[in-house]
């Protein structure tokens, strides 16, 4: 393997790992959202259906930044766009 190619591959691997730092944000955000939803259900158990639905949609939206990071990481590992 050429030296330059090896450097690019190593860079891609490190970059994929760094891209997954994006997972921190959604993790914190979703945890916070679920905690608040639990509080809301504890306070008003009859609204649990609506609260759960809203929470899932909110979690899905919060998750998208993490998914973008995941897609970048997958591209770097499997498609190797820079080699």
């Amino acid at each position: 393997m050429e030296m330059s190619e090896a450097i690019v591959l190593a860079g891609s691997a490190v970059g994929a790992g760094l891209a997954m730092i994006a997972g921190i944000g959604p993790g914190i955000g979703e945890g916070y959202a679920v905690g608040k939803a639990c509080e809301a259900i504890a306070r008003q158990p009859e609204a649990s259906g609506a609260v759960t639905r809203t929470m899932f949609v909110g979690c899905a939206v919060a998750e998208s930044t993490g998914i973008y990071g995941l897609i970048i990481a997958l591209l770097l590992i499997f498609l190797k766009p820079f080699t």
Binding site: F56, E63, I67, I71
Partner: protein
Amino acid sequence: MAILAIPKVLQGPEELSVDGPKVIKTFDIFGFQINFTETVVLEWIVIGVILLAAFLLTRNLKVRNVSKRQAIAEMAVEAITNLVRDTMGKRWLWFTPYIASVFCFSIFGSLISLFGVRAVTSDFSVLLSWAAVTFILITATKIRYGGIGGYLKGFVDPIPVMLPINILSEVSTPAAMALRHFGNIAGGSIIMGLIYYGLANLSHMIHLQVPVLTVGLPAVLSLYFDLFSDFMQAFIFIMLTMVFISNAGPADDEAPQTN
């Protein structure tokens, strides 16, 4: 030295490769390369399964002495109707068939991966086309209730400087929806592939000819990555579709009566 020859299929994956869906045939239409892929075949299988299920469940409907089949069908229809009514309001009830079909297609399309084939929803073009349909519906709803002028005026709301941001947010809605569904399913299948590959290598490392370690742990993880996340993503996709479409129209009380 292996004393017994162990069949290739039992030795576990030898190498890890991630490819797009297999291209079966390429058509050349007006200079465009149109690929006829594995996904199209699987989609038709999924459509066939859904049609068959719908046909079997809705035969011999009765008012009295309801059969089990009919009870299941009624339960499903009622659940999805209630979901649409709760999320979008009464006057959007005519959207129920579309929402239900997207939900079924998404679930069956993802769950087909349990049979060892590629999930339909891990092909980005499938999700992008569903998201494009949602985008068309949102735009059509905006034009229907606000007129062409109102729709175009929405882009320079509240000040004209916001024009690029508004265009970006309009385009990013379907793109984010498609990427979310695709990322979850494709990412899940890649993670499962990595786990199988890693466990097989681990068993070879401790000189087991058959990768025994791949029994057990993947099954537990598959519950999350295949079953839970498939249902979740299908649900989230239809929820977002419903929320975006009903938000594109006016609020419930000031709505003009259309039907």
